[in-house]
């Protein structure tokens, strides 16, 4: 039987936990987790290294709480959704009445790449609604910019606070409404310069060739190969579903390659495009979803000239600056890296 404020619900209870101190985080997180374990519910922590360590230290030994570790959990929104949907499906198939997760978008992603995480926060209201999930998304108000907090309020239907209070968010927007907003794409400074390459109505093969011409730079082979796939898929979608002309522009910097693909159409009708595979599972409709899985940042934007997708491989600008910021008095350490890993127990 399901426990807590979602006891009478069947789907997803999505709460924001906005805290101003470590004590405030623990005051909500610890009872949330321990109550889950007591109820026999699969209970997970997917926090960063610092906050995860805080919570781990506050839990009893062998608490039964499981830790999803590694930066890979929240490396890319579409990948996080894919991973969590599989986890939730497996746990529910195994008989779980409710699953509890407390997680956080890594602080570096609260900067120049926040836009696609904001879309993630909106999209998961539907993406996880097939399962009895109760999750809390933790945001440290000491380091979270005000515009991000506004998005948090708009994408979380509920807010968790100390004293086990669960309040509706007055600023919540239905996910489709949030996702249909035409939000300005944060500019990449590289776009102030003329592109290295510009092609009009290229074939997908010509687009791939252009990326190879731009070169690997300092990117890993994996990032580069995935970027080639993403550009090919995006140009294909533009040619097939957009309105001509389709323009591909490429910029390079030592730490990244940036491509924009624009056409004069309206862009995809599906507000979840990119974050979720299309519901009808038509293979040809998977291109944007694959693109979101293959890049380190994807933005989409509409204006009077049409629709533009911007793809970034390598290091999106601004991530480093945000990484260095720390909460006052905090002991932030660099986050881990790699694929998500599951560990159980409370203390190493």
């Amino acid at each position: 039987m399901r426990t807590g404020p979602a006891a009478a619900e069947s789907g997803y209870l999505h709460e924001a936990l906005c805290y101003a101190s470590d004590d405030e985080l623990l005051a909500v997180a610890v009872p949330f987790l321990l109550d889950g374990v007591t109820a026999g519910e699969p209970t997970f922590v997917a926090l960063g290294e610092r906050t995860g360590g805080l919570v781990r230290s506050a839990l009893p030994v062998d608490s039964g709480v499981e830790f999803l570790t590694g930066a890979g959990v929240y490396a890319r929104p579409a990948a996080a959704i894919r991973m969590y949907r599989k986890l939730l499906a497996d746990l529910t198939a195994g008989g779980a009445d409710q699953i509890r997760i407390i997680g956080e978008v890594p602080p570096p992603s609260l900067g120049s790449t926040w836009d696609w995480w904001a879309r993630y926060e909106a999209a998961i209201n539907r993406a996880y609604d097939d399962w009895p999930l109760w999750s809390m998304c933790a945001y440290d108000t000491r380091i979270t910019p005000p515009d991000v907090l506004a998005d948090v309020a708009a994408t979380h239907p509920h807010i968790a606070t100390a004293g086990q209070r669960h309040l509706p968010s007055p600023d919540y927007l239905a996910p489709e409404s949030f996702l249909r907003q035409n939000r300005p794409a944060p500019p990449d400074p590289i776009q102030a310069y003329p592109p290295l390459l510009e092609l009009t109505d290229p074939t997908a093969a010509q687009a791939r060739s252009a990326v190879h011409q731009a070169g690997l730079g300092q990117l890993s082979t994996e990032d580069f190969d995935d970027f080639v796939i993403a550009v090919s898929e995006t140009v294909t979608n533009g040619l097939r579903h957009g309105s001509p002309p389709v323009r591909l522009r490429l910029w390079t910097a030592p730490d990244r390659i940036v491509a924009t693909v624009s056409d004069t159409g309206k862009g995809p009708d599906d507000p979840y495009a990119g974050l979720l595979p299309p519901a009808d599972s038509t293979p040809g409709g998977l291109g944007l979803w694959i693109t979101y899985q293959s890049c380190n940042h994807v933005t989409q934007h509409r204006d009077a000239n049409g629709f533009t997708l911007r793809l970034t491989a390598g290091q999106p600008p601004g991530l480093t600056a945000v990484t260095q910021s720390e909460p006052p008095g905090g002991e932030r350490r660099p986050g881990g890296s790699g694929d998500p890993q599951l560990s159980s127990g409370t203390r190493p």
């Binding site: 894919r82 074939t203 997908a204 093969a205 791939r208 082979t221 994996e222 190969d225 995935d226 080639v228 796939i229 090919s232 898929e233 294909t236 097939r240 293979p283 040809g284 998977l286 291109g287 694959i290 899985q293």
Partner: protein, 275 residues
Amino acid sequence: MSGQALPYGHQCWAYDDPAGFTPRAEDFLRSGLAAGEQVWYVVAGSEAGAVRDRWRDLDLFAEALSSGAAEVLTLDAAYSGVEVIDPAGQVSAYQMATRMALAAGYSGLRVAAACTDLVRTPAQRAVFASYEQQINRMMRGEAFQGMCGYHRPTLGDRAVAELACLHPEHNVTDLLFRLYAPTAHQGHAVLVGELDPANHDLFRAALEHSELRPVDDELILDASGLRFLDHRTLVHLSEYAQQREARLVLRGCSAGTVRLAALLDLPGVSMEVTR
């Protein structure tokens, strides 16, 4: 020619001027004569006389015509049926001719054929495409090499592409892939080049014409020469194998293709990465 040199010789030469095939065919056959092979030039019946007359003025070919090392044949004489050929019968005929050439002391048989009249209609092309793959397989085990000439203005770009993609070598510059018979250790077919939505229909047709037969419930494709494979093609290959109750094994594919297959969560697909 596009692409790299391949271990066996089955070339497609698309040409725009009727005079354009003969010089290329003669180069191909001249190499055969130099290698001690018997050579045939197969042309439309109306052209055979003119070719023979021309060859009598070319020292190497004149000598070869006299000795029997070179022959000029009409399509009617060389192919089992000009209207619609019999693929298996034609392969057998060339196999027998190759063995006769070997028995006569030649090192093999090499044929250049102006095939346009054999593939004018979609029905003719479908059968001929099946033949092209069957002759690919035969060439892997016999001392037989061939060059197929197709007149592009007569057939059109699409028809030429349908046939060219089944050759290990071709000169069609905007045709990005090839699908042909492998050596014994390469599995059931070799895939080379780039596969994306622009050539997806062409690839589907090529795959159907190839009539691949899985062994031990596995359909093994050599993908070591495949530079790009998009998700639609990967899904289609997976379905093709499943329809034949086999697992799809892609040998030598890129790590990126492996990641793509993992994303798509395709059933019955194995990837063997070597790069």
